[in-house]
């Protein structure tokens, strides 16, 4: 009988302390996330030092809860996976050192995982991957199109040249005096408004699959500013809808072009902004009646979690990827070097 592969994964790259346990790469046994969002709300954004402090307070509690939920002992585990980067360095260090200590205590192999690889692999908990595939990753820190020819191979074919989509959402939300984090608020507001305001769409060079959102962000701020000066009232709902339409148009269209250009079988959505209703709806419409298999994971697998790190860790483990006790957190870790 072949022994089950059971991976415990730790993710602390930003403001969630997360531990998950996944069996044979696809079966989720436990997925615990301690979110710090309530603490960071008062600062209007994630404060790295505060995030690091919370991670230390939560780390053993969250590991314990995951093992309890899965009804497993450390002796039942095959390996420990951990987010090596990218992310906030002080935050990454907590997960990396906890993972090293845990692996060392039980003589378990240690598997380093790239955070974005994790986001992509969240999809494997929903549906088996078919290659070549294209993944659109949108989060607070990332906006990327990644092509995968096979497991563990990542090629960035498009990326943002300035702000990440999530960043643009947060900044626009601040302009509209909405609380942090801005994404969900704008998404909700956009559902109630009409995209009646003309905002720019940055297509860049004709062949480019890159993104740019800083111009759009400035256009929104200018629109609000000009209206205020003229004493006009802009319905926030309409502004949110217009902004969202502009972001989503570019994201969806570039994804569609890339899918055609590289003739992929599957298109995956990944990252925290994948929770955005407007984006999900538009993607579904665009890819309907095409041969591309569009996979959108459930919300709890889109935002930062450790299940995705375990899923990516499983593939890395099978490929023989290992780290020793000198593993460090790498804030600017390169995906393609994986």
């Amino acid at each position: 009988m072949i022994k089950d592969e059971i991976i415990l994964a730790i993710e602390t790259s930003c403001d969630e302390t997360a531990v998950a346990i996944v069996k044979n790469g696809t079966e989720l046994l436990a997925n615990v996330v301690a979110s710090q969002i309530e603490s960071h709300k008062r600062f209007g954004g994630v404060v790295p030092e505060v995030a690091s402090r919370h991670h230390v307070e939560q780390i053993t509690i969250v590991i314990e809860e995951a093992l309890n939920k899965a009804e497993l002992e450390p002796a039942d585990l095959t390996a420990v996976a951990v987010t090596e980067g990218p992310g906030l360095v002080g935050a990454l260090l907590i997960g990396v050192n906890a993972a090293k200590a845990f692996a060392f205590a039980h003589g378990l192999p240690l598997v380093p995982v790239h955070h974005i690889a994790g986001h992509i692999y969240a999809n494997r908990l929903v549906k088996e991957m078919t290659f070549p595939l294209l993944s659109l990753i949108v989060s607070g820190g990332h906006t990327e199109l990644v092509l995968m020819e096979e497991h563990g191979s990542f090629k960035v074919i498009g990326e943002t040249r300035d702000d990440a989509a999530g960043e643009a959402y947060d900044k626009v939300a601040r302009t509209l005096n909405m609380p942090y984090p801005g994404g969900p608020h704008i998404d909700k507001l956009a559902q109630e408004g009409e995209a009646t305001i003309d905002l720019p769409r940055a297509w860049l060079e004709p062949e480019s699959l890159d993104f740019s959102f800083s111009g759009l962000k400035s256009a929104v701020i200018n629109t609000v500013h000009n209206a205020t000066q003229r004493g006009e009232v802009i319905k926030p709902e309409d502004l949110a809808a217009s902004f969202q339409a502009s972001v989503v148009d570019v994201l969806v269209e570039k994804t569609y072009r890339a899918a055609n250009r590289f003739d992929v079988k599957q298109v995956l959505l990944a990252g925290g902004v994948a929770a955005n209703k407007g984006l999900r709806e538009k993607l579904v419409v665009r890819f309907k009646e095409t041969d591309f298999d569009l996979v959108i994971p459930p919300l709890h697998l889109c935002t930062d979690n450790a299940a995705m790190i375990a899923a990516a860790g499983s593939v890395a483990y099978q490929k023989g990827t290992r780290a020793d006790m000198a593993l460090n957190g790498v804030p600017g870790l390169d995906l393609e070097a994986q």
Binding site: R53, I94, N97, A98, F104, A105
Partner: protein, 231 residues
């Protein structure tokens, strides 16, 4: 009782393994190098050399700060995780108390210090209590050098200053305290992890899940937020 002591709270990185009445091994460096990369390999190597398996450990003792926020967190995270997952005791000891130990036979008081930037110090006062035990007398704190020296003057005792950051402040200390101040020698300034382990052997264990570093000050964002709330 087999004890693993870990100190990554400042530039000096220290690991020690103790067994009852014996210090089996000690690893100390005073280098501006990354603790996150070096501390687990050092633990791995020292346990191997001393023939102690992780599962044979009875207690983890960690220097809980004050010091570098990131440095303290690395040691505390490793200590919490090891202690919790090996189901053994965790003890936290002040990083200043560890440093103060080389003054334990000094006839007077001992003042360990770490520079905390902007002419501030992490420091405390240590010495023999009436019961003859060397211990903390004035609690660990973050304080401006000038205010601290004014307070220290009033002890009317000889004061032994220890710490690798002394060169930054030694001149001012000498000016204010004159011959009341005695300075440790070059080999006195590294906190010794064996002292950390020894102190931790006799202390009551902590609740592992809720154990946190002693930062001695709030994160800057917290301070500003409290101000904005009028608190």
């Amino acid at each position: 009782m087999k004890v693993l002591a870990i100190d990554t709270s400042n530039l000096v990185m220290g690991i020690a393994v103790l067994d009852e009445g014996k210090v089996l091994g000690e690893y100390i460096t005073n280098l501006k190098k990354n603790h996150s990369i070096r501390v687990m390999p050092a633990i791995e190597q020292l346990l191997k050399e001393t023939g102690v398996k992780p599962a044979e450990l009875n207690r983890i003792v960690v220097a809980r700060g004050p010091g570098s926020y990131t440095g303290v967190r690395i040691g505390v995270t490793i200590a919490k995780t090891l202690a919790w997952t090996l189901k053994i005791d965790l003890v936290g000891v002040s990083s200043l108390e560890v440093l103060a130990q080389c003054g334990k036979y000094f006839n007077g008081f001992t003042v360990p210090l770490f520079d905390a930037r902007r002419t501030q110090l992490f420091t405390g006062l240590y010495g023999q209590h009436e019961n003859g035990v060397f211990q903390n007398l004035w609690e660990d704190q973050i304080i401006l050098l000038d205010s601290w020296l004014t307070k220290l003057q009033e002890t009317n005792e000889k004061l032994l200053f220890i710490g690798n950051d002394l060169p930054i402040h030694q001149e001012t200390i000498s000016e204010v305290l004159g011959s009341q101040a005695v300075f440790g020698q070059v080999s006195d300034h590294n906190p010794r992890p064996s002292e950390l382990g020894r102190i931790g052997m006799d202390r009551d264990p902590e609740d592992i899940h809720t154990f946190t570093p002693s930062y001695l000050q709030l994160a800057e964002a917290e301070v500003n937020w409290l101000k904005s709330q009028g608190k």
